[in-house]
Symmetry: D2
Subunit: 507 residues, 4 copies
């Protein structure tokens, strides 16, 4: 793909593109008048096109997500095919936006042209990544994959030889943060209670993995158990310095995930939080900025919440007023087992519950006073369900003249099969943003995007944003935003979907 | 709302705004290389801000949509409130994008600001419209509303006095085009078989209604029974001249809806086709252009299809591959009764079936060869269901590594309560576009938008487009396109959703 | 209906019928052999046909069930009709087995003949009952009915005049037993903490109501809030004497419902427990026996559980093996609000959870070792839902060769509209059983049925049985049992459904 | 199991049991009085306990049902186990009432005792049957099983060796009776148009199969494509003689299934019709009686209809009034493909539609005038769905005071996995009834049950009954009837479910 424009310059290892960002300032005057002032800001984006050798370290590698992700990469890399009830299956990357979604790049006459997202900007090829990780259980990845009961049996047989020698490193394990029912699995843990020592071990693990595998970069992603929220304390979580000190002091409110996040940042590796807990406290955010490294979170948006942030947006945009959203889930995998514990569930509930707030708040015609509606989230652990998570939702909305619209949904969300491609996307996109710098009028130097990489919000249930940044949960807005940043960096213009050339042609 | 910019000029009865339309030409070279050339086209939009006195003429006025629409306008105008099981209800316009949706206009610091769509550009106030129409049944609107069984009983009691004196004019009725089961209702029809005479009567009706009510404008909208498709014939439907001649000859393939459409266009009234039949044949399109009048169609997008063009887009955009979509509907109103007839159902099926084609075709990673998937549409007439239409859908998609995602939906789509606000939107927006002219480099004069007003595709199941115009069914793309045209005409810039000011700030 | 048989004797005020009860004793021998010994026991049933003037006292009269029940009786008695969206409605008793179900009485040639249950044995006519009750809130029944938001608005208007003078008596209110969120409603309560005094007041209320209304009988039914379980203690709940003593001592584990039950029994009135709490402790059961009065419970079986005890039976009987039953509920009425409190929910959960145990245990082919399956119950309080309770269930069963059958259900169970007819049935049937005596060989005198009237199990979520009585939850078995007892008392024979006269005719 | 009673006599190869059948004659007098006369008829049942070597011949052997049935028998016989996603699976007979359901035989103290149905009366052991059949396609059973895509892949691998040598015999194929889309599969058919010759070939096939496999008995079961209804004509289908003559004349309204049925009856083999078409015309019924052979039909009751005859019964029995039942189905197997043709669908629709008639008719309180309600059946062919048939139903019922109960169901009915155990039951039970004779007062000799074996109605969508026999579709009544016949033949008494020994004990 070549963009033929003065705004783009291709060099050996760089694409430099300028982008006119058009936005508006809004002022509400005392007389109720709204004054809107359009502004255009000129950005330059420089994308390094040299794709590095990438190492991936997963916390909770032996869990369902970790094993499915690993098996999927290996199945694709080795071009495996296998049989299930429906016939021959071949490895794919369905569910990954980087690998399987497309972006409109323009029109060829009256035909719209879409290209794969991965052809717009250079991304690491999933075939080339090196995977490793930690787990509180010592099982090798092949056995762990069998235990997970996620994949077709015939695929398990075929991919197993590639996985049996993969063994997780010993994990930090702080009992107080995850459910008591996980204790049986905790057979592969770092000894002692000295959190500083744990931090150093994990840092060493990262360094050694990088060296051993000759990786140019490593990214660390948490796909382990949901922890309870840590109780945020001044003096402990508020600054980078205090976080480091609290680790030194083995403060009880320092969670295992904090150790991983801090280790990762200190080693210059981006850290992605795939669970809902509040690992990314103010002090960790500060540390990320100091280290000039990305942090991304929280919680993979894969099933029910993803649907909800699409469906609610659809309704509100149509002038329809949701009044009650009741969301039931049940699942039988280890994630479900851990969430059966109240404190861990609370982290999850919080992550799932706020996801419609910005959508409702955007429409003051429907919600003139409050956008607090009835919104319930239930998760039950039902072992027989296994990884085949079920979401059952009811949406009731008010429509014209006192009528109601009721939507009931039953959504079979294969938990890990939906999460694994999102893990891939989070990692590949984070890696990409490590290669993009921008400059705007008034800046002396190029800079990375805000280290709190909220641009990946499409992939997160509760997108972490830096302070004073709007929260966007609308799935469509998240995707459009990301697509347009891809376009911008590639020298393309944003798509306004007006198709004016057809509707208002030169006549 | 005031836009504070050089690009906007407000005069007494006009907003003149310039808009830089940014798009791309794509060329595929023989070596597979894709060359993309960005272009910017400068548009000027002039919007007449003087809102006219508007008359609305509905074909099928006495049906469920017609009575619900009329009752809704009157309930709002008279600020009625009433009781149902859930307590006091007040008249609203939920489900109407013009009245109840919002558009982002910019940011006030870190807060996004959204304004009601109707505050962006001046629209006719629904309180001020005059409603009339034709119906094959002679019942007055109050009785017809009771027959429809759409509204709360207490609302019926309250709005009835305003409706009992409203009586439909005699309608054109060509038995061969609608279901035989409608015959009992056909008690209020124009005599004879002379289609030319029918045309003249309808034209006279439009003129007289306009004069009598001192309307500055009239818009005609078909919300009557779905007709069977007419068999498109050269010499009959291909040119405006031939259509007019065929009417003169009372050609059997001239449908009742053609008479209304032609009468409307000849009287200079925009014509909106709310049903799926192919009223808007090439000859009628040509006539619209000759008369410089808008035509809009086909078929209100209110329930299942609206959801489908949102949900399918959501899936495909996520890199998930729908393989089977099965859509069942049942309803018990007169629309359902008419559709119980095979030929009429065929019109509907066609309208509902193609709605995912462009969405699937946009992703060649998922659908490298064909995007023909299993897609079934069923509509059953179940009298007991009344107007409370039920849509039951199953979507099965392929996900990662041979997995499947199954979504099952039960959607209680109150048929007329969802359609009536869409009727309002279609009319108000068509009227607005009659007041907007554009000019672009190379044009000597200002012009209206393409007379085939595909910009309203968001409201149509099978959006009619002029030839060589891409078909867009994706609900989000339709809405974004419309919103951005609103923005453009108001002097605002399109929203690229990147929020770059927060993600890439000046540092 | 006249039964023409030697086994039946009709006298002025009595039907005397004999019934050969055929059953089997089963012995399992040490060698695994099963020895089955058929037995026939000859019963005589005497049914008093003189129907008394019946008073009904409801605890929680002003709640949704109480007001709906009262309005329903009055609407039927006064033959009211009203309008809702679907047209004219007339008062009915749908959902009541006594009023609206039928029982097969035999064949007329090759035609099976079914008669209304209420024509088999003489029941009190619902038109003739007198209704009264207690409530912790002082609202009159008309206002309370409006607050409940259960009935069509036009019916409310019509039935309201009959209800506005009905005002509940002051209620016992022990804060510790119901949810804290009920406190606001507690404006009509008996003063003080002296439980003995409360008991006497309630007894006096019953006596005075009976006298004032010249009732021959009174039945008391609890349809108030679900209480938390009382902690059963030796010395408090174990014997009738201790219960009475504990009341005298105002023991904290004596609940409000215990006061009503004891008052009722001491006044000779049958007591029916429509909620799940354990009011009917051993001491109360003993008291019922001493007083020769019926007790019935627990918890109305109206919606999800009723379905479950039918559906699970259907599956297991078909040789299909349920493995996982997940039952979600949400509702927005005051019952839901009270159940939002954990301790009250626990009572409900227990009541709902054991309902499939006997069904699963009946099939040792499917469940050779354990019949403990995954079975979850969730109830959420969602105010917007109102009385329109929603049940969402998923049943997954194992079928042939490793396959699975998944049934997903969405059940809109209008809570009080389903419960009110069950209240009627419970009362009318309990009253009937007060007029039936039986005698069997070896008995000197006629006796009433066991005072723990488990024969009404069809109407109860967790049927209370006397010790050493099998628990039957299978809906079909419950109904068949009750029908056959009706048949027996009327001199008819049980229906074995073999239709042998047709399948094995004389040839 | 030994029944210790004078009513049962065990001899070497016989159980002789007497059974008091208690029923009632009902007369309606002119004055409206209903006179009911109880009757007791004494039956003697003789069951031959010597189980024969049984041959099974399936028409449509290579289809999904045929291959699944065969694989299932072989998997059980060879005690196969295999892996699927959920772990190790072992062969079972879930879904078969003979193998996996239980019957109550009495009480052991206060414990109810249930025994497997197959232990009540001696049945052929499924391990011992010999299976053969015809198919219009020549594929061997192993390949056909793979084509069917019903079983887990690992099971297919394991059972394949046992099936690859099984090859169907050439089939009768009359193009006019099944869908045109089946033509491609018709590669293994009997030549010519001489129907008499076809009959003789099929008779020879049956004889040779019996001899070759040394079977004592053969039963023939149609599990092939649904045929269109034959047009019943006097002179063709009315008498046995005319049917035989019509075959001789190769009458066009003689279907392929008629050839199989007649061949089977002439060879003394019971014939079971597992599809809905009207094979069992009056002439064939007469022939069955003349040949003293059983016929059973029509159409396996496995999924949606089975549920419906349980659920509707549940509702009506509860005094709730179903008003609208809408039943959608889609499936992608060859059955679905064949049913995509209108004439074949009509057969199916008829079979599925009448199933609630008797249930509604049984309640004249709810349905005083007509029990015709809105009841729609839709079947769509959706290839992607494969054998994993989906049933989606909506039941709307009227409840108390103008309320409605809505039940929506999504039922994943693995088509062949549910049908195969029913095939087994139909065959084993038919075989059993060939060994049971009854005698009743007035009969000189023992006789078989009516040759139209309506006792197996539980297993049939549209149970075939002899004239003047009530139609029973209620699932519970069908099962109870069958269970009680089992009890009767084993010397046990019917279960009246009253449990009187506990409710009315000797006191």
């Amino acid at each position: 793909m070549i963009v033929n424009s003065q705004n783009v310059v291709y060099s050996e290892d760089q694409i430099t593109a300028t982008y006119e960002y058009r936005h508006q300032n809004v002022e509400k005057q005392q007389d109720g008048k709204i004054i809107i002032t359009p502004k255009t800001t000129s950005y330059t984006f420089k994308t390094n096109t040299k794709v590095p050798k990438l190492g991936i370290l997963l916390v909770g590698w032996g869990g369902n997500n970790g094993t499915t992700f690993t098996a999927g990469i290996l199945a694709n890399k080795n071009k495996l095919s296998w049989q299930n009830k429906r016939g021959e299956q071949t490895a794919n990357y369905y569910g990954s936006i980087t690998q399987s979604s497309t972006i409109k790049v323009g029109c060829n006459g009256s035909e719209e042209v879409f290209l794969p997202m991965k052809d717009i900007l250079p991304l690491v090829n999933p075939d080339d990544v090196i995977i490793g990780g930690w787990d509180i259980n010592e099982m090798n990845l092949s056995d762990a994959m069998r235990r997970a009961q996620v994949l077709d049996y015939n695929l398990i047989e075929k991919v197993s030889p590639y996985m049996q020698d993969l063994v997780p490193m010993k994990s930090v394990y702080y009992e107080d943060f995850i459910a008591a029912n996980q204790k049986d699995r905790a057979t592969n843990i770092l000894e002692g209670n000295d959190k500083q020592k744990h931090l150093e071990t994990i840092r060493k693990d990262i360094r050694e993995f990088k060296e051993k595998n000759k990786c140019e970069k490593v990214i660390v992603l948490w796909t382990a158990n949901t922890e309870r929220f840590c109780e945020i304390k001044t003096g402990v979580h508020d600054t980078a310095e205090n976080v480091l000190k609290a680790i030194e002091n083995s403060d009880p409110e320092i969670s295992a995930s904090t150790i991983y996040a801090v280790a990762s940042l200190l080693e210059g590796s981006s850290y992605i939080n795939g669970s809902p807990q509040n690992t990314l406290v103010p002090g960790v955010i500060q540390l990320a900025k100091m280290q000039d490294v990305f942090i991304v979170g929280d919680d993979f948006k894969s099933g029910q919440t993803k649907m909800k942030t699409s469906l609610t947006d659809f309704l509100v945009t149509a002038g329809i007023k949701p009044m009650s959203i009741v969301s039931y889930n049940h699942l039988g995998n280890n994630d479900g087992k851990n969430l059966a514990s109240e404190r861990q569930f609370k982290s999850k509930e919080l992550s799932k519950k706020s996801c419609v707030d910005d959508i409702l708040a955007s429409n003051k015609v429907l919600y003139p006073k409050t956008h607090k509606i009835d919104h319930e989230i239930v998760i039950k652990y039902v072992p027989y369900t296994g990884d085949s998570k079920k979401a059952m939702d009811e949406y009731i909305s008010e429509i014209f003249l006192g009528g109601q619209n009721t939507i009931v949904m039953y959504n079979v969300c294969e938990d890990s099969l939906l999460a694994a491609p999102i893990i891939l996307d989070l990692i590949l996109l984070t890696e990409l943003f490590e290669r993009i710098d921008y400059q705007v009028d008034g800046m002396r130097n190029f800079s990375r995007f805000n280290r709190v990489l909220s641009t990946l919000g499409y992939l997160c249930k509760a997108p972490l944003t830096d302070q004073d940044t709007p929260h966007i949960n609308s799935l469509f807005r998240q995707k459009t935003g990301l697509d347009n940043i891809f376009r911008a960096c590639a020298g393309l213009q944003p798509d306004d979907n007006t198709l004016l050339e057809f509707k208002c042609p030169v006549v």
